[in-house]
Symmetry: none
Subunit: 212 residues, 4 copies
Amino acid sequence: MQAGERRQRTMAHARLDILEAATRAFSRTGLHGTTMQDIAREAGYTAASLYTYFKSKQEIVDAMSNQLTDEYIQVFEQPVPGGLSFRQRFELVLHRHMELVEKRRDTFITFLGEEAGSDLCGPDGHGPSFHTNFERRIDCLAEWLQRNAKGDDLGGNDPKLVARMLFGMAFGLLHEWRGNVQPGSFVDYAPIITEFFFHGVSSKPKTGARKK
Amino acid sequence: MQAGERRQRTMAHARLDILEAATRAFSRTGLHGTTMQDIAREAGYTAASLYTYFKSKQEIVDAMSNQLTDEYIQVFEQPVPGGLSFRQRFELVLHRHMELVEKRRDTFITFLGEEAGSDLCGPDGHGPSFHTNFERRIDCLAEWLQRNAKGDDLGGNDPKLVARMLFGMAFGLLHEWRGNVQPGSFVDYAPIITEFFFHGVSSKPKTGARKK
Amino acid sequence: MQAGERRQRTMAHARLDILEAATRAFSRTGLHGTTMQDIAREAGYTAASLYTYFKSKQEIVDAMSNQLTDEYIQVFEQPVPGGLSFRQRFELVLHRHMELVEKRRDTFITFLGEEAGSDLCGPDGHGPSFHTNFERRIDCLAEWLQRNAKGDDLGGNDPKLVARMLFGMAFGLLHEWRGNVQPGSFVDYAPIITEFFFHGVSSKPKTGARKK
Amino acid sequence: MQAGERRQRTMAHARLDILEAATRAFSRTGLHGTTMQDIAREAGYTAASLYTYFKSKQEIVDAMSNQLTDEYIQVFEQPVPGGLSFRQRFELVLHRHMELVEKRRDTFITFLGEEAGSDLCGPDGHGPSFHTNFERRIDCLAEWLQRNAKGDDLGGNDPKLVARMLFGMAFGLLHEWRGNVQPGSFVDYAPIITEFFFHGVSSKPKTGARKK
DNA sequence: AATGAATGAGTATTCATTCAT
DNA sequence: TATGAATGAATACTCATTCAT
């Protein structure tokens, strides 16, 4: 069944194309402001054709959301060099996550707001997809923290709470970054977040010689 | 001009009623999912009547957004007892803000997502209202921090960055709180945020004596 | 019942005021484009107040239409000096009519189009008022022509047909006049229409002595 | 590209169908009184479907107006037998125009009023379409008159003024015709108008010998 | 597989009109 | 008498989705 396979491959490829197009379109006009026409135009299809690959607009959105979450979670599965301190591992993973944010900038931008308000608002059309994905990411992060933190590394805080706050911090800076006229790399914020995560504003030795 | 005055009062009252109804409706079905009919039903009016008090749906949303921001900013103007340390003042103001969040729970829930994505998405209909209000709050918070922090209180961090991260943290916890089956008071999180803000996860001796 | 009389007078006065305001408003934005609010604003009343003087918007329009027709018809009742030829009487009456057009410029402008299409379009809201008034004017003109024309003055033409054509000619020139940047007096067209009415384009000696 | 061609043809056909349906609907209930639903019903479509062929209601109206004007102007381009006098050519063209009026009866009826009042009323929504088309017809007629009239044929009158008066006359008779219970052919009026155009009411003996 | 065409369900907004005060 | 407030009834236009070709 090579034909079948090829078809499958083509299908998958088209789906990805459409997803990318949708991402661009959404990042421009928002989830509600983007019509199937818009997505189709961006993807080089007709609106009707999109339904060959996705059952509905919602499915496109869900696919984007899931894809994002999958990529996010995969970061945790990437190998980490041995012999690193918790803080070092933390910063490494954070760094990788922020690279992902940068790579999927448009998607993140599109979703952050919507996901935030997702479960908050009731039956507003999009299924549980947003909420689920958001929580899935939180859970993964919390698990990772728990798994990696030793002893007093989290200062006795609930990992999930910490995860949410960490997420929020990044969210806040995403705004900053997006707003910047000539945004540098988002990962540039990684050290700041790391330091803040570990010591809050009482940050110590940023400058000068100091010892740990 | 007593009649005029009374009328004015009635008008203002109706506007507030409608705003509250809109808040309830929005928190249920989201900004886009809520129709003027919905708001009207919730407020005990006809859709057409809403236009006696607001020029458009957008104006209702803007009014909500502005109201929220005004109340937020007013917190900074409330007197603070003398002789408090920075951290004490911080916690006090945070506490008051979180009380506001609790009081305006539905409004916050409605807006957080939308505001977040507001300027992110381009011309998605709602004017600059969201973005402006969001930034206005950030700015006020940053100013307050700058005005109140002495010496190394902010550890040399950019007040605006810090403000954004602080905002984000609260945002993250709002999610947690909202999700809880039997949510306690949102202000209960105030100490946690405060501690995290000042020391990150490296929280120190909350109880008892401890050493570094 | 002096009080009653005064009331009556006041009422009549207000009606006239409103009618004038309506005329101004209509001439600006057309019959359909003008709202009761617009009329009220122009008249210094509230929309609701207009209903004290007129039962409906339609009644305002009808009153305007009737008023116009009444004035038009009254022209025929004004005395005409004796000893005038048919053509002289014709031109005199035409002149007076065109003065009326000039005086009631806005009203004419408002109605000409609507009346024209009035009976043409079926139940488009405005009752038979337009059609009736239009026909009433035609009839009066036709009667006057018949009454005043002797012998071959109308060349054997059906007075009503002639009346319609005459009306049309004036209508055509009203357009011209209205379009002129610095319109002179509408009555300036009177001689042209008269000449055309009597001789068509085969106009004879307008200037100087000429022979056939 | 046969498919594309056929599609094009179908599209054009549908547009014409809709235009005809709109014409019928408008002639019944007027431009303002006719809703997209009405047109759709008359055309056998859904209201939403109309937007596949026309961008807006206004575009339908404009298309009707333009179509009418185009047809009107084309009459001037039809060949005229040589050796005819001015009057003969005049009557021939008038005849053809009146045939057009008869054929496009509903459209004329719909527009005459609206076009007349079009530029008269200010910003009443419909763009310059009406006024432009009206003037375009006037201009064409005036040009034709100027081009064809020799010497004293127009009696020294301004062609444009004459054109307007001629238009008005026909307009007046359209009313008459439309009102007739069993209207004959509109072109029956052609000789009357012609005679009136050339000699006004001083029509001469149409038959037999004559004297002044 | 791709699409032109068709549509049902919606949606904010307008406006003439009513009525209690 | 005057009006602020309320509303029923409309209405043009949009959009996700379906389906025959």
